[in-house]
Symmetry: D2
Subunit: 128 residues, 4 copies
């Protein structure tokens, strides 16, 4: 996350927020923030949310996610909000919204649904 | 894509390949390549594939994608292969596979399904 | 929808509800309601929600959807709630939740994210 | 599956086929086969494929799936082909294609990507 200059803005049980400033290194050809970067902060925000409800000695792995890009990721920066929808012993389902900031106002620019796997102990080499 | 040091390795009609070396700046906590970066090159490979079948003066926008992360993105680097599944006038459906390279051998590490929108003329401010 | 005995319980602008009784013909091997039927009512609830915000002479077509099945679809019946997330001229993004009813109480059993295409005039033969 | 008159046409290790005739009870308003029914046979074909690689005493549960509807499900009937992409101990990732039959010729009408969970012993009440 350091690579794209994202920071963790909020961590609560089942809920996190990631903040990303808009800077030239993460822009695509039209001057918006690259969809892949939007995906990256959404994935991370939801993954961290899952971590807050997993056992302390467990790792979490993203199994899959689905992302709708709703409007251009432009403006002054982005906020990704991750949230746990359902926490099971093995799988945690989460969702995330990404908001684009325009002079302090937020506009929804991406919506994600994600499945996370809880790995007992430290992360193993193979998901699944 | 320069940010993560990815390069376009192949461009054919309806098919592209993106190459990514494994370097420390794109690793997550376990030393694998970050899932968000895997998503980024898969999204780009499939998006470029869509571009090869869109009219020359049109732009393409990612509407949505769904990605399964199948095994850790480790090894010497990644290859993302994008492919057009069906090209309509307004929407193009694509898929991508991401392979992890281990001493010249490939292993499937991610699978993506994506919807792309064709925008006549230059990109507009609002998708949809 | 008649086939599975589903009925439209609510229609507002950007929001609908589908009700489904639990009956033997829609069960899978464990006595729960079949995941395909859960998908069918979620898809329909969100598609009808899209219809309420589309121009009157337009048709809507499901481009794609992604569904997480969170807990067994058991109990006395299901309610699928569809909602428009963002309505564009060409594409409408929606979401749906499916609740299982247990003696009047609801439990979330499925979560869906969907992309709908607006077709001017009557439906054409080819999506895209 | 009996409800929609679907039959299992092929079962191999990691691969299955479901056949569905076109009949009035499964049509939507334009005379095509309902998208929900397309989803149901794709989900089932891929789920059965997962079953062929799971331990004999285990159950499989659909965790999630994502489906692109590429062209109308019309013609004489449908064939859904399910295939295992990667089989882990806990999760199996599959894909499915649905083909519409027109006088013996096939046309791709839907593409699905799916995550399946393997449950040791008989199915439990709660996924995850």
């Amino acid at each position: 996350m350091a690579l794209v200059r994202a920071t963790l803005g909020l961590v609560e049980t089942g809920r996190t927020e990631i903040h990303l400033p808009h800077w030239p290194g993460i822009e695509q050809q039209h001057g918006f923030i690259h969809g892949g970067v939007v995906g990256m902060i959404a994935d991370s925000a939801a993954g961290y949310a899952a971590m807050t409800v997993a056992p302390e000695d467990a790792s979490v792995l993203t199994v899959e996610y689905k992302m709708n890009l709703l409007s251009p990721a432009d403006g002054d920066g982005l906020i990704a909000r991750g949230e746990v929808v359902r926490a099971g012993r093995t799988l945690i389902v989460t969702k995330a919204e990404v908001m684009a900031l325009h002079e302090g106002r937020e506009r929804l620019c991406a919506l994600m649904q994600q499945t996370i796997m809880v790995m007992a102990g430290k992360a193993e080499k193979q998901a699944g």
